[in-house]
Symmetry: C2
Subunit: 318 residues, 2 copies
């Protein structure tokens, strides 16, 4: 569905502000809360928190993060799930979300309804209320920015720093080919993130959003480089399909396509890997793969290693 | 300054993502914090909070909230101050902010620098770190959404509900004519909001952003209507100037222009008003004016009363 319409009666402009906000409350249903804990006051009120808290913000923008092939519900779901993936990457759980919309008056009301219903369904699934927001008019625009607030699930949040030379590199799920549908239908790895944060051997954690070849550099300890075994990279079916189309190696797609929303972590080089992996397998059906380790930066490149130097992830603002 | 340029070398597109983010860190300086408490991890980490917390989000959009007459620094300052005004309206103080930008690749780097420097100056003035954000590309766009997190300054946050029939209506500062400059140069009433929230006689509080004639309806108790004395409305010089130009009464401008970012509150009808007003005057140079009270809805309109029925505030999405 195209988000915009030339038929004014079908547009949000025909509704006006007050009726639109009433409709939004209806679309959100119990995914929001009564004021002042939800929509309707100057701010939304959040509870105190004994735990460390986290905050992240990520948008979806028409023609950048989705196009007419995506259903509006998928777009609403994607917006929240992208942010949930960032929380998962710290070992945090969500508390509340606020949404800022910048939209043209010619936005189709039916599109917006689908978007909010998709957002609400995802909000209920992950138990994160949409407590507030803002709608502003911007000609021809369709930009939705969601800010997600969360808190540590356990004793700590896990950051990107903390990896050491010799640490193993693990990744969840399978990588690459996201454009074939995974970028809309992924599952944020929230419970996996909480579990990983509770393992003392996990030293650093992040999510893969711009592709492993780009994102992994945020985990690399000083004086080190990632040494990834090409045959260990979990290549998705999507990456294989794209590889068959464009004759590039499937592994290249896996490490550079982006929008995987999987977790990558550094596990102590002294960890009992067998025990770590079997504990994981008792908790999750999601695959967890050791793809290599951090080695000294002067370690020669060996046969069968992924040559990350030639690969890039998704570059913003190019 | 026009935010956009046709000269590619002057644009953010020429910088690319990595260098742009480095530059932003520099422009923010000590208005941000090192990761994971500031920019650079999957989320920003916030401290625990024993107090109730609040969250709000408001944007600035090119051609909607500002135009080429505004300096980029004024735009950055306005973005944060709009949100601070929402916190003031609950009696809260700021904890941290995150910023989502949707910008065209042809945005002038110098414009963005001015914007961030204005934001940083305001951030330091009100002691609220900019802890994170996101920059996404959207053709021809210049939308900046800021989410502000705060916490109760005292024992409570004050909501919009709580006013009763017979309560007095007070407003800070002067109203109207904001387009002549006040919409960029206002001071969010943070300390005033904290003080008002600490007064037990203050029953409801909000900020005036779309004009008193529209906003005041959020405070009206059920079965009541606001009875405002026309000669009591604090009319700004801006409102007087606009009135001289368009021959409308200055009071009409005062109650309907919007973007005042003043506070309006309901004070118990049983309060010792003289004591309340003199206590205010000991703390603030900002004017505080009793403009009327909430009366039963069937109270006849009296001479000298503002006829709010004919007036409207700023209507979004029209």
């Amino acid at each position: 569905m195209s988000p915009f319409t030339r038929n004014k009666t079908e547009s949000v402009g025909a509704l006006g502000e007050r009726r639109l906000i009433e409709k939004i409350r209806g679309w959100l249903g119990n995914a929001t809360l009564p004021a002042p804990y939800g929509i309707g006051d100057d701010c939304a009120v959040l509870p105190p928190s004994k735990k460390q808290q986290v905050v992240t913000v990520d948008p979806v923008i028409y023609r950048r993060h989705f196009d007419d092939r995506a259903t509006p519900a998928e777009v609403g779901a994607k917006l929240l799930k992208r942010n949930l993936s960032d929380l998962a990457a710290m070992g945090a759980v969500p508390t509340a979300a606020v949404l800022a919309l910048a939209i043209g008056a010619n936005l189709r009301t039916a599109w917006l309804e689908g978007f909010y219903r998709g957002l609400a369904t995802t909000s209920r699934r992950y138990r994160v209320p949409i407590v507030g927001g803002d709608i502003a008019q911007a000609e021809g625009a369709l930009t939705a920015s969601l800010t997600l607030i969360g808190r540590a699930a356990g004793k700590r949040v896990v950051t990107r720093s903390g990896a050491r030379i010799g640490d193993w590199i693990y990744v969840t799920g399978q990588l690459g080919g996201s454009l074939l549908g995974h970028h809309l239908r992924f599952t944020p790895r929230l419970s996996e993130g909480v579990w990983l944060a509770a393992q003392k051997d996990v030293r650093a954690l992040m999510d893969v959003s711009d592709g492993l070849a780009k994102d992994l550099y945020s985990l690399v300890p000083s004086g080190a480089r990632p040494q990834l075994r090409s045959d260990a990279i979990p290549v998705s079916r999507g990456a294989q399909k794209l590889a068959a189309r464009d004759q590039r190696p499937a592994v290249d797609h896996a490490v550079s396509d982006g929008e995987d929303y999987e977790l990558v972590c550094a596990v102590s080089g002294r960890a009992d890997r067998e025990r770590f992996e079997s504990a994981w397998a008792r908790h999750f059906r999601t695959r967890l793969t050791c793809i290599g380790r951090f080695v000294r930066i002067d370690t020669p490149v060996s046969a069968g290693e992924v040559n990350l130097g030639n690969l890039h992830g998704y570059e913003h603002l190019r």
